[in-house]
């Protein structure tokens, strides 16, 4: 074997083959989700044909889904909650992040530490008492329960993400603006925010994704079909007792997954750079 040939073979074995295995592991469930949702029931449960392929693609699972369930309402709920909570958390996160990155005041460090710690608090640690807080606020069984509680895990994330971004922006420009008579808040809004747009876009999208995917709070606080979000409605409303309608379940999962996958593919560079920045910073 020539040395070049040998190099190619080596590369296949130590790079392409393992990479293909990882890709298969990561993506096969999505392939299975997609082809299951475009199969008819007759094909879905036929064990005698090649099951990894679709022979006669059909939209009947989607038609059934839209006819029988409140999926449009669930999608709207998910969208509404995710959008609103992301806007709220971004606004508060920008304010707190800017204060921690730029201003010196007693207690700033303690507050920074506290937000960092709250970022680590898992939702499953406090969901039981939070349910009684939500009840005493009169929010049980409404999507406002989610609008109120999601910021608790989104704000710490946005704040920490934005502190890093604000710190990377040179101070000179806002100091100039302030010497020219701009107030601190004015300088923040006019000078710093436009420069922090990549960080803001990333935090917004990540907040949106986190809200869209949230499960524990939505499961605990909401039991009415019409107020559920996608991530909870699909596993709880479409599985009735022992009857699993896998075609419809997979179609609904596909519909619930596509928005975040799309959002993410459009802004992938932001995602990867933001993620890695966040991971490195911890």
């Amino acid at each position: 074997m020539s040395p070049r040939r040998k190099k190619v073979v080596k590369r296949i074995f130590i790079l392409y083959l393992p990479l293909a295995c990882f890709l298969f592991f990561a993506l096969f469930p999505f392939y299975w989700m997609a082809i299951s949702s475009f199969k008819s029931n007759a094909e879905l449960y036929n064990l005698r044909i090649n099951r990894l392929w679709i022979y006669s693609p059909t939209l009947e699972q989607f038609q059934e889904l839209f006819r029988k369930t409140a999926i449009l309402k669930w999608l709207w709920n998910s969208f509404f909650v995710s959008f609103l909570t992301s806007v709220i958390s971004m606004t508060f996160g920008i304010m707190a992040g800017y204060a921690l990155a730029r201003l010196k005041f007693p207690g700033a460090q303690a507050f920074g530490l506290a937000t960092f710690i709250t970022y680590l608090v898992p939702t499953t640690l406090i969901f039981i008492p939070l349910a009684s807080v939500v009840q005493s606020l009169g929010l049980t069984n409404t999507i406002w329960a989610l609008v109120a509680t999601y910021p608790t895990f989104l704000i710490p994330f946005c704040t920490w993400m934005l502190i890093a971004y604000f710190k990377s922006i040179p101070k000179d420009m806002e100091e100039c603006a302030m010497i020219d008579g701009c107030s601190r808040i004015g300088a923040m809004v006019r000078i710093v925010l436009p420069m922090a747009i990549p960080g803001i876009v990333f935090s917004f999208m990540f907040s949106f994704t986190l809200s869209w995917n949230e499960f524990v709070y939505a499961l605990t606080f909401i039991s009415d079909t019409t107020h559920k979000t996608m991530s909870v409605a699909v596993p709880t409303e479409l599985i009735r007792g022992d009857a699993y309608f896998w075609g419809e379940l997979m179609a609904a999962s596909l519909i619930g997954s596509v928005p975040v996958a799309l959002l993410y593919s459009f802004f992938m560079d932001y995602f990867v750079s933001g993620l890695t920045a966040g991971a490195l910073k911890g």
Binding site: L15, F22, L23, A26, L27, P29, F30, M33, S36, Y45, L47, F92, G93, M95, Y98, A99, L103, K104, P106, A108, F111, L113, L120, P122, T123, T124, L125, I126, F127, I128, P129, S132, V133, T149, P151, I155, P156, T159, N213, F215, V216, T220, M230, V232, P235, Y244, L249, M250, S253, S257, A261, Y264, S265, M268, F271, V272, T276, A279, L280, G282
Partner: protein
Amino acid sequence: MKAFVAQSGKKAKKQLALSFLKSEALTGYFLISPALFLLLVLLAYPFFLALYISCSDRVLGEPGKFILLGNFFKLFRDTYFRQTVWNSFVYTLTTVSLKLVLGMALALLLNQDFPCRNIIRGALLLPWIVPTSLSVLTWLWMFDSLFSVINYILQSLGIISKKIPWLGDPFWAMVSVIIVNTWRGLPFFAVSILAGLMAIPKELYEAAEVDGALAVRKFWHVTLPLLQPVIAVVVLFSTIWTFADFQIVYILTHGGPLNATQIFATMAYDVALVAGRIGEGAAISLFLFPALLVVIILILRYLRQE
């Protein structure tokens, strides 16, 4: 006279600085107040409420009375709960180690040059981005007792002759939830470690090569020590997330069969919200707190060292 002017100048400067500081402090408090308010009402208060509820025998619809540590003593005697503790540790330790080893391997692969690198990198992140409850439903379908596509593939390839009872058998159910958790968390490890790898200066490897170091030794003596901070943070984050995990077990096995996959969060949910014993459920949830505390202390200590 000169001295006086200088002194008053200093004084004025001091005063100016003081008022500036004051206004800066005021702006600071104004800016953090909404976040602080929300976190106090919906995070700190519920936490203290959790301490209170866990010391009461509250059931659904009744406030209950204070029973001190009664719930905790009851739990320690409960074999069902002891198994939950054991399961939680098995689940966390296995998945975190798997994610670390595989994530490291994947990061090393992704750090090399090959065509379509960005697209492949993005595709590999999908399990982490897509709603977990929905992707886990797909896994539930893939593990189906009759129609499992995994068994179909393994049988077609001749690897197994008998169907694996994925979710029907205590051992395989644990294997299943571990596989799914690894699948979901792997991208986070890979991307974070990859970022750490890309930050390592190339010269270090060149120096090692001049010294005649082999690939394995380069990895051991250059890569690993420099990746240590990233690895520490990623492992600690993942440990607390996995320890407190809920969705994967809830949807795949609901803690079964025979309690074989029950972990803290799913048991707390079952006891508090399905069975209605809120006090006891809150006590189970609180067992996550020591783990959280350890992780927080380790991370803070680590960040301070840096």
